[in-house]
Symmetry: C2
Subunit: 362 residues, 2 copies
């Protein structure tokens, strides 16, 4: 049954509808939205505040956005697409730490896939045999170690990474530049189906039914990196779109890694340029795990005393959960600085997001 904004069936549906409405607002509102979200405001208040801050615009009044949100939710429901909104306990902690997080995510497949430690593998759409082999092998090796492989379901390196993760067998997430029910390229429909059917997920911040458009792909790339602890570049030429993902990762404070390759083909110019600028060189899954502090030798249950996240851990009293504001007060760190550190603690298994924007020690 489609929801009506004036007659919500449940209280949480109102919130969800408002989060979707927020996600339908112009993309230039994202950062401002995130400021309100991080401050803990309700989506209804954020929507009102943001609309009030803008010059009047027929297309983005609250009623229009809400009606479109309701329609999207109905379409999603009939298509079996789940909705995850900001503040949900399953909203990915890593993604919540970026400056422009999606207020809503549409998910085909296993929502729990969003909660695993993730590494993105992206690269050339026209991968060479070498690039495809490396992407597939590294994805399989990481997935076998419990890492979720995030990519963009594109031709070439992206789909090789997804396939490698599936073969492990492991979990993989495809992030689309179209609605979660509109697979582009069409030849990857069965791959998308395999991903969703095998513990992974096909996700998008765009409402179901949205056709792919060129401007969506760079925005999609920030979600690929935002979900991930690190972004690994495999075969990126000088103008590869995967370099945008690498740039997003740097902006988001995530590790950027690159696989080297042939210097004569020109296929690796982008990846090599990243290495020149300080990206970590990767030959094997172990290199990645080591870089992330996830290998057996580097794994540690207690941060070193001089560790900057140690103060954040101390700001989480054992046995109770705290919201960002409380942790901010205890630690003296702003929410923007706090979130990456909480994310780090979470990745190290020392803290946990418990829903409602609250965190607790593990």
């Amino acid at each position: 049954m489609p929801l009506s904004p004036s007659h919500p069936s449940r209280q949480s549906d109102v919130h969800q509808t408002s989060f979707v409405a927020l996600s339908l607002a112009p993309f230039r509102w994202r950062r401002r939205t995130a400021e309100y979200l991080h401050a803990g405001d309700s989506p209804e208040r954020i929507l009102d505040a943001l609309i009030a801050e803008q010059p009047p615009d027929r297309d983005i009044d609250r009623h229009t956005l809400t009606a479109r949100a309701v329609a999207a939710m109905a379409r999603a429901k009939s298509a079996g697409i789940a909705l995850v909104t900001w503040g949900d306990s399953v909203y990915p902690a890593a993604l919540s730490a970026i400056v422009d997080p999606p207020p809503a995510l549409w998910v085909r497949g296993n929502i729990a896939a969003l909660s695993g430690p993730a590494v993105a593998i992206v690269g050339s759409r026209a991968g060479s045999a070498y690039g495809l082999t490396v992407a597939e092998r590294l994805a399989a090796d990481l997935a076998a170690r419990g890492i979720v492989i995030v990519s963009g379901l594109a031709r070439g390196v992206d789909s090789a990474a997804h396939r490698g993760a599936l073969a492990a067998p492991g979990t993989t997430i495809g992030v689309l530049g179209s609605g979660a029910d509109v697979v582009y390229p069409a030849e990857h429909r069965s791959l998308a189906g395999d991903i969703a059917a095998n513990g992974g997920a096909i996700i998008s911040e765009l409402v179901p039914g949205t056709p792919p458009q060129p401007q969506f792909f760079p925005l999609r790339n920030r979600i690929i990196s935002g979900l991930s602890r690190a972004v690994l570049i495999v075969e990126a030429g000088e103008k590869s779109g995967s370099l945008i993902t690498a740039r997003c990762a740097l902006d988001q404070g995530r590790d950027v890694l690159a696989v080297p390759g042939n210097v004569l083909s020109g296929r690796n110019r982008g990846g090599h340029a990243l290495l020149r600028d300080g990206a970590k060189i990767v030959e094997s899954a172990d290199d990645i795990l080591e870089e992330l502090g996830m290998c057996a030798s580097a794994r540690s249950s207690t941060p070193a005393p001089d560790d900057p996240v140690d103060a954040v851990l101390r700001g989480l009293p054992p046995g109770e959960s705290c919201d960002l504001e409380a942790i901010s007060e205890r630690t003296g760190l702003t929410p923007a600085r706090l979130l990456p550190k909480l994310f780090d603690l979470e990745m190290r298994g020392l803290a946990k997001r418990v829903g409602g924007g609250r965190f607790a020690r593990v």
Copy 2:
């Protein structure tokens, strides 16, 4: 006519004989020898001092060393091998800056090749088609830009580098782990001949006739790097001897560069490990020239005011030459710290070694 130590035909021959005698002393004396050399002592005094410092040893008394030196010089003369000793104006400035420089160098071919700005290219003896192509191409591109290509005349990457330089056409130096007249491997005799006949040189610190021995090759590697502004590694596996050359380069304060490649073959593990540890990644000759500050855009005729070598330049009064001691007094820098800076000034065309251990502004 063979020279006799008691009846030298010319005064300089006495010195030359003594430098060769010094070079025949045990390798463990090299650093101590270098301290005396840098202090400006005569080879005769150094020989006496070093022998006096050692416990008595029949094999390394002055008479024996001198007699062997005389015999070596006679053999060299008949084989058309030139002798370059410490303090000669053609002794390579870059090599004089290392902690264990050879007191004598034996040279087949063009002595002037030793004075050019040089880059070493070394790598796997069992180079792949990719490694050989890259080595040859980079050597040709650098040689065409006036860079002397230094390598070890070994199979694989080394000989590809020499061949690339010859094809440019350009200048290349082969540094041997045997006498300059004993080419190993034997199949490279004609390559060695081509190098010597085309403006380049085959050199060794070992006296003519010395057969190759395993312990000579690591020592030879310090000369390859010592002659060079930078060492470029092409296809080095985990245990490649070229990693020793890279280590020498680091110890000598030279740039270490590496060409990346396939991560699946295992052929590049050594090179990639160097990149992980901070070596510069190289895709083209331009990358190398830029790294060395030799590209058009980065070339500068005047050091920046805060440049550490600027003080050394000020220590060289225009229009006169100074020995190390005088520059040391003027600048307050020890000769060991001074030499790399003088070398740097020389490479930048701002200073010049004028022979007799003296330096002058250009």
